[in-house]
Symmetry: C2
Subunit: 340 residues, 2 copies
Amino acid sequence: MPERAVVALDGFGAERGFDVLAEGARRAAADGIGLRVFGPPQELYLEDVPGVEVVPCAEAIGNDEDAVPAVRSRRDASVVRAAAAVADGEADAMVSVGSTGAAMAAATFGLRRLQGVQRPALAVRLPVPGRPVLFLDAGANVEVRPQHLVQFAYLGAAFSEAVLGIADPSVGLLTVGEEAGKGTPAVAEARDVLAGSEGIRFAGNVEGRDVPAGVVDVVVTDGFTGNVSLKLMEGTARMVTGAIREAARSNPIAAAGGLLLRPALGGLRRELDPDATGGAILLGLRGIAIVGHGSSGPDGVANAIRLAARCVEVDAVGRTAELLERGGATRGALVAGDGT
Amino acid sequence: MPERAVVALDGFGAERGFDVLAEGARRAAADGIGLRVFGPPQELYLEDVPGVEVVPCAEAIGNDEDAVPAVRSRRDASVVRAAAAVADGEADAMVSVGSTGAAMAAATFGLRRLQGVQRPALAVRLPVPGRPVLFLDAGANVEVRPQHLVQFAYLGAAFSEAVLGIADPSVGLLTVGEEAGKGTPAVAEARDVLAGSEGIRFAGNVEGRDVPAGVVDVVVTDGFTGNVSLKLMEGTARMVTGAIREAARSNPIAAAGGLLLRPALGGLRRELDPDATGGAILLGLRGIAIVGHGSSGPDGVANAIRLAARCVEVDAVGRTAELLERGGATRGALVAGDGT
């Protein structure tokens, strides 16, 4: 029986307030996960919760701040201290539902990159009913070179296998057509390299419509396209479900139909719920960093903490390093080299 | 009363066959639109339809061919002849439901660019219920420079006003955050230029989730992000509606609910139907070119032809040229210059 994971939690940044953050912490702690929470004790009311230690911290980095300079200059900010706790071995993983930029910067500076990784990437599990699809980069790198895309493929495959439990996951490269050469020069070059890579099951190019269809287990793209795509998918799902809800209110017969159909839709609602996925994971670092939705409810916060703990339990970092090395055996030029 | 528009129709390329293409032509002709169809008379059976002239043509450019060299070398191909008909004044607009690449290449070479336009862009009307959103570039330019994005904004605004009838349309630039500076350097620079532009209502940055929410009338992006986004939106809408349909089959009560709800969903189904929008429009040329869905049904083909005719009736090309010129008064460096 492994020792229980200890997660460093940023005690600021929940858009729905300290109560929601604290309730999420309570739910995760009830599962036996240890927590060090960096935040204001007088707002969190967590002192009596077993397994939770609140480390008083009064400073937060906001969404409106320029993340990189803020993280570099403010060592007392809650997200920076959470990263430091992981780096110092006081915690096994960090979780923040605050500014995504600040969390990424704090993790990247605080936890350092795995050997050979040039750019960490933000990965999210897409709410594709019936098949979890890992999607990266969701916004860490708005511009990429071909070798970054290649590394994202390895990082995503390793995480998918280690944490999501998918054996030999298939990896697709997001672009504008199935044929080789389709897309930007960076994408075309990455495809050529991936097509000749070992230690990974590369399925070739995928198009936008293949992503929600769950055609592959891992979808790789740059952080600009990835961020736009992710938000577009969320927005489209919300638009369609909203329009159906509205149709169900348009007349009494439709309303009756909506009521009868409603219970059967519960599973779909849960699968499409952003709170269910636990947030985004920054891959490629020597530690676990989870960035939850700012708008998370208590379950969203708890699931982000649970995801962090699960990453620790399955040694996601070690297994990712291992797959990178395996890939590196054949693609030394691309996955080795610690430059940026 | 204006003379009726004459549309040059590519008589090949409909994935669902010549019958579907011909039936679409018949429906559009029934509205009083004149047609010159470049295709095989013995497959189309259109000879007795008033207002339709079939120009015998036996050669087509397929989806699997490299579009640019194919268009350059094969003057007898149906899509090339349709473009030539517009250039020669034998038709007022061209429509193809065949290879998008071939249609774009044939139109760009055949119709030439409007004064000052560096890159034509492919625009589509997104199926956002209740509010048509014009989205460009949907795939004509996988890489763009800042001035191309600026021009797309003018092209989109002009089309939205002239053809979609939206007075003073708002234009948003798709990127990864609301603040200036968010996104790639090209996006950040385009934003700065657009923020100081006249003759256009620039609403600033929009994010992925704003697109299906219908926050602006026109959304501008590069052709890589645009193509991925468009297909992702279609795929997500299909995924969600499919999952709901499946839920409605999961048990008898849900099935009854689905039946009662079904009539109220008719409007939404129509709004989400790709056939309803009539296809994509290549903007920035001295003529009208519409690229319909390859998988169009008869209504899809007819609506593409109707859209072409409507563009002619409202003088979309002339009004686009006018707005470009108005914008050019203040942004000469960006919209003038005929380079690529």
